[in-house]
């Protein structure tokens, strides 16, 4: 087998050194009844060519986004990722390293982490960031739990614009801990509704901007209301690129910012792996979940980086840890860092502008189609549209025409009462032809 270096001679030599006659003797502790006699009923080993073919066949049963006119966002975004990003993250030294437990021989990973934490902090207008969470949805759940720890309160309020999957994820996690989740009804543009749900038991209010309907919201007045009640303001997001153009959550009063970083550096990958971003204020770092890299000095007084503040973490604190997270999103975080380094402020700003312009172009093109109403007024690169037929049917009909027109809100949240609403997204990858194709196809479908 091409991945197994021991030869039969090695094996018998080694058994000899160990002092046993057969490998079976090494499994002596396994109850005999549990030792499989034969092989598990699965196919035997195959060569690269055969395996490649198998996977290729499966892959070809899918329709890649890039082969369609593609307008789907809602938590995952199709952006162009420079070729150099994937080249770099595939370097053996990054790809096949573990979590940097031995910092002296992991300075590459650690310095990149430190750069990531700084980039994320700058981007979100926050003081500190951790070293990544699994994804945006779990970061959001962690934010809710952290707020409960910080405030010692047990209720978290979600705005009606939070991505339904995020809400569901947070609900699953929080309810196990006895944290009550109160969710405002789904609404295109009413984040401020959370203020009406606020009380003195509230640990945090979680608001998403741009929200799942694309609407961007000024968080400042909400944050003021939240802070007045002694609760934490948590800002959530799914599209990192937005912060190239809109005000940072930190500047608008957020105490914790959480969201999805996939947009930068990471392909769609059918939903994972992605990279959760998590930033907060310095005063809360001891309650922050997840790993964090910090600067220090070596024995010669030279700068170096290490994982630090590990007394928050499961491997040191065990049942008192701030989270059970261990492995996070290392390589996705590295991809983020590299792509963000390539962009820089100049590139990110321009990228964001382009996305916004494409979305305006899309909104205007769709608005002209009979049976379509654009619902989102203030947006970055996503808009909600109302169509004159059931949204899911429209999406399916569009797909048959080579247009992935977005997602029906009913798919994300069947109880939202928005069965005719579609979320669409435009990015720099959409051409004028794509937009024209969408409008034309939609016209036919709605006719």
């Amino acid at each position: 087998m091409r991945y197994l270096p021991l030869t039969e001679t090695d094996r018998s030599d080694m058994l000899g050194v160990i002092g046993v006659k057969s490998i079976d003797e090494l499994y002596i502790d396994v109850p005999t009844s549990a030792v499989l006699k034969g092989l598990v009923d699965l196919p035997n080993a195959q060569g690269e060519l055969e395996v490649h073919r198998h996977l290729q066949k499966l892959a070809e049963k899918n329709v890649p986004a890039g082969r369609t006119a593609f307008f789907l966002g809602a938590g995952a975004y199709r952006h162009h990722i420079p070729a150099s990003v994937d080249h770099l993250i595939q370097r053996s030294e990054f790809l096949t390293a573990y979590t940097p437990y031995q910092p002296e021989i992991a300075q590459g990973t650690l310095q990149a982490l430190y750069e990531f934490q700084t980039q994320v902090s700058m981007l979100l207008g926050m003081e500190v960031s951790n070293a990544s969470m699994y994804d945006g949805s779990t970061a959001c759940a962690e934010a809710a739990m952290m707020a409960a720890r910080v405030t010692k309160r047990k209720k978290v309020i979600f705005s009606g614009g939070v991505h339904p999957h995020y809400l569901q994820t947070a609900r699953t996690a929080c309810e196990a801990l006895g944290i009550e989740i109160v969710a405002a009804p789904a609404a295109i543009d009413d984040e401020a509704a959370v203020l009406k749900l606020l009380d003195d038991q509230t640990a945090a209010v979680i608001v998403q901007s741009p929200n799942v309907f694309g609407t961007i919201t000024d968080l400042s007045p909400i944050a003021d209301g939240v802070h007045a009640r002694g609760a934490l303001m948590v800002a959530n997001f799914t599209e990192t690129v937005a912060f190239g153009l809109i005000e940072s959550p930190g500047a608008m009063g957020a105490d914790i910012v959480c969201g999805e970083g996939q947009s930068i550096g990471n392909a769609l990958n059918f939903g994972g792996p992605y990279v959760g971003l998590f930033a907060t204020k310095e005063k809360y770092i001891r309650q922050m979940p997840g790993r964090v890299a910090g600067e220090t000095l070596d024995a010669d007084g030279k700068r170096g980086f290490v994982l630090t503040l590990s007394t928050r973490e499961q491997h040191i604190r065990r049942e008192k840890a701030t989270s059970n997270i261990c492995t996070n999103s290392g390589l996705c975080q590295l991809a983020f860092t590299i792509h963000m380094t390539l962009l820089g402020e100049a590139g990110l700003t321009r990228l964001a502008q382009l996305n916004h312009e494409k979305a305006i172009q899309l909104a205007d093109a769709l608005a002209k189609v009979k049976g379509v109403k654009v619902l989102t007024e203030r947006f970055f690169n996503e808009i909600a549209i109302k169509v004159s037929k059931p949204a899911q049917d429209v999406i399916d009909a569009l797909a048959a025409k080579g247009v992935i027109g977005g997602v029906a809100i009913s798919r994300l949240d069947p109880k939202a009462g928005m069965d005719e609403v579609i979320m669409c997204c435009a990015t720099e990858t959409n051409t004028d032809d794509d937009i024209a194709a969408y409008a034309a196809a939609l016209k036919k479908v709605l006719a």
């Binding site: 991945y3 197994l4 021991l6 080694m14 490998i23 090494l26 502790d29 396994v30 109850p31 549990a34 598990v40 196919p43 195959q46 690269e48 996977l55 892959a59 070809e60 049963k61 995952a76 420079p82 150099s84 770099l88 990054f94 096949t96 390293a97 002296e104 021989i105 992991a106 310095q111 700084t118 994804d135 999957h165 569901q168 699953t172 801990l177 000024d218 190239g244 059918f270 939903g271 994972g272 792996p273 770092i285 600067e295 220090t296 030279k302 700068r303 630090t308 503040l309 491997h315 604190r317 840890a321 059970n324 390589l331 996705c332 380094t341 402020e345 590139g347 382009l354 312009e357 992935i404």
Partner: protein
């Protein structure tokens, strides 16, 4: 040879500052068409201040990260015997298949008709996992091992709730040797943790466990093979005991590599077990992730598996199977009561592709060989090193990892960390240090099956020579290590006491 260069480089070892020191906020490595510049629709929420994010052109970016990369150790450079982490070879075919356009360029919310191959792949992966583990159900969505634990324990909680016992059964038994994620997970699920001591031979103390059982016990969380690298001989008794007591058996499957293809957890009475695809099934660790932690469930827990659920319609008119996803409780079969959702979308697809590629490559026979070679390699090191290092739980056999400690060197004051740092100079990533906590000064060595004997022999030679050096009383040598790594020993206390978690203009130190 120890002279100071003008450049700061040392031969091929390149010095490199932070991007904030070498980059520039006007520089960019990405060319984009100029925006047209019409009126925005941001409703006045346009950013007012600068971000100050530095950029670098592509050549500078390449150089920056290539230079950084060379300051890392990696499997591709040598043995990475980090116990409990299963740092095996990451086949490059897996990287290629994961990047196929038909997988990588797929949005999780595309119409189901356009992602049939993706769901079929998830279904195939499930099939492999279920056949290998002998379990009836699997939740694919957990994003890492700890997330899988969370999934399994939430399923247990849901099952208890269905029995009306979730308010009563709140205590979870966790052996003292458990990985930190186990107690942390139990607590994250709202349980309390009750620690079960171990025996002198490194297993769960059955008598002690028995004594702790009671009507308030929800589950026991046992790692098997355990974190001492040993198979829990009494695993069936553990299962029987917890089941008799009305609780569930959570098995931490991080060490599944030792038994894959040879022993099925389903035959041991396990109710839930996560599988780290990034260990046993070789998806790359990537310097800290991403991973994937699919969690297999017994019949008792299967109904509570979280969303989404894969459904297959074999009866379609086309004659082909039609795949779909139940994404909401109402879309699931009537007998299923999903406890919720672990995360947005459907889990770590990129890892699923790699893991299935790995499984198909090895096949049933190859996977069994994986386990056997992993165990053989570990026992070989156990045998080679036993005369030199203390093996707290005896001469074995062990499973996939060999456990030693530093008691032999108490007199000389050479500790586990010192051996670890001395190994850095020898060009090795050290073993896992100070884990499991039940062994003072633990050194947990997991070579994995992808190491040739030649590399093990060289490692053994180095380890033995270090033991001799320690014994010779050359403690200073160890305390001064590492000397040949990219940096000298780093001050972790300083980092924790005066946390500097990001670069700031005013805090900028000299570029190194």
């Amino acid at each position: 040879m120890n002279f100071q260069t003008v450049s700061g480089n040392k031969g091929l070892q390149q010095a490199e500052g932070l991007i904030f020191e070498v980059g520039h906020h006007e520089a960019t490595g990405v060319d984009l068409p100029a925006p047209k510049g019409g009126k925005d629709r941001l409703g006045g929420l346009k950013r007012k201040s600068a971000l100050d994010l530095p950029g670098l052109t592509e050549p500078e970016t390449m150089r920056h990260y290539v230079r950084l990369s060379q300051k890392n150790y990696a499997i591709d450079l040598g043995l990475f015997p980090l116990g409990s982490c299963t740092m095996k070879h990451n086949p490059r075919l897996n990287e290629r298949t994961a990047r196929m356009e038909g997988f990588a360029d797929l949005h999780p919310l595309q119409p189901i008709s356009t992602v049939q191959g993706a769901i079929e792949l998830m279904d195939q992966l499930s099939h492999w996992l279920l056949e290998l583990t002998g379990m009836p159900a699997v939740a694919l969505s957990p994003k890492a091992g700890a997330h899988g634990e969370f999934c399994g324990m939430l399923a247990i909680k849901a099952a208890l709730a269905a029995r009306g016992e979730d308010k009563i059964r709140t205590r979870v038994l966790v052996p003292s040797s458990a990985h930190g994620t186990n107690p942390a997970t139990a607590v994250a699920c709202g349980f309390t943790v009750d620690e079960v001591p171990g025996t002198a031979d490194g297993r769960v103390d059955i008598a002690a466990m028995k004594a702790k059982l009671g009507p308030d016990v929800a589950a026991v969380m046992v790692t098997n093979p355990n974190t001492c690298g040993l198979f829990e001989r009494d695993v069936k008794t553990i299962a029987d005991l917890i089941h008799e007591a009305g609780g569930y058996f959570y098995c931490d499957g991080a060490n599944y590599n030792a038994i894959v293809g040879r022993v099925r957890p389903g035959d041991l009475g396990v109710d839930a077990m996560h599988i780290n695809l990034h260990k046993t099934f070789s998806t790359p660790h990537g310097g800290g992730g991403p991973g994937a932690g699919p969690t297999v469930l017994s019949a008792a827990l299967a109904p509570y598996a979280p969303l989404p659920l894969i459904t297959v319609d074999l009866t379609a008119k086309s004659g082909r199977s039609v795949y779909s996803l139940a994404e909401h409780p109402e879309e699931a079969d009537d007998d299923l009561k999903p406890f919720g959702r672990m995360c947005a979308f459907h889990g770590q697809m990129g890892m699923f592709v790699r893991a299935l590629t790995y499984m198909l490559s090895h096949g049933s026979d190859g996977l069994r060989q994986v386990a056997e070679d992993a165990v053989l390699n570990a026992n070989y090191l156990l045998a080679r090193l036993s005369g030199h290092y203390n093996a707290p739980f005896g001469q074995g056999p062990c499973m996939h990892e060999a456990l030693f400690d530093d008691t032999n060197f108490k007199a000389e004051g050479v500790e586990t960390i010192d051996f670890a740092k001395a190994l850095l100079d020898e060009g090795y990533h050290p073993f896992t240090t100070y884990f499991p906590l039940v062994v003072h000064g633990a050194m947990l060595i997991e070579p994995t099956e992808t190491e040739p004997k030649r590399e093990l022999d060289r490692f053994a030679k180095v380890m033995i020579s270090l033991a001799e050096r320690a014994k010779s009383g050359d403690t200073a040598f160890f305390k001064a290590a590492p000397k040949l790594a990219p940096v000298r020993r780093l001050d972790e206390t300083r980092a924790a006491r005066q946390p500097k978690l990001r670069w700031r203009p005013e805090a900028a130190t000299e570029s190194v």
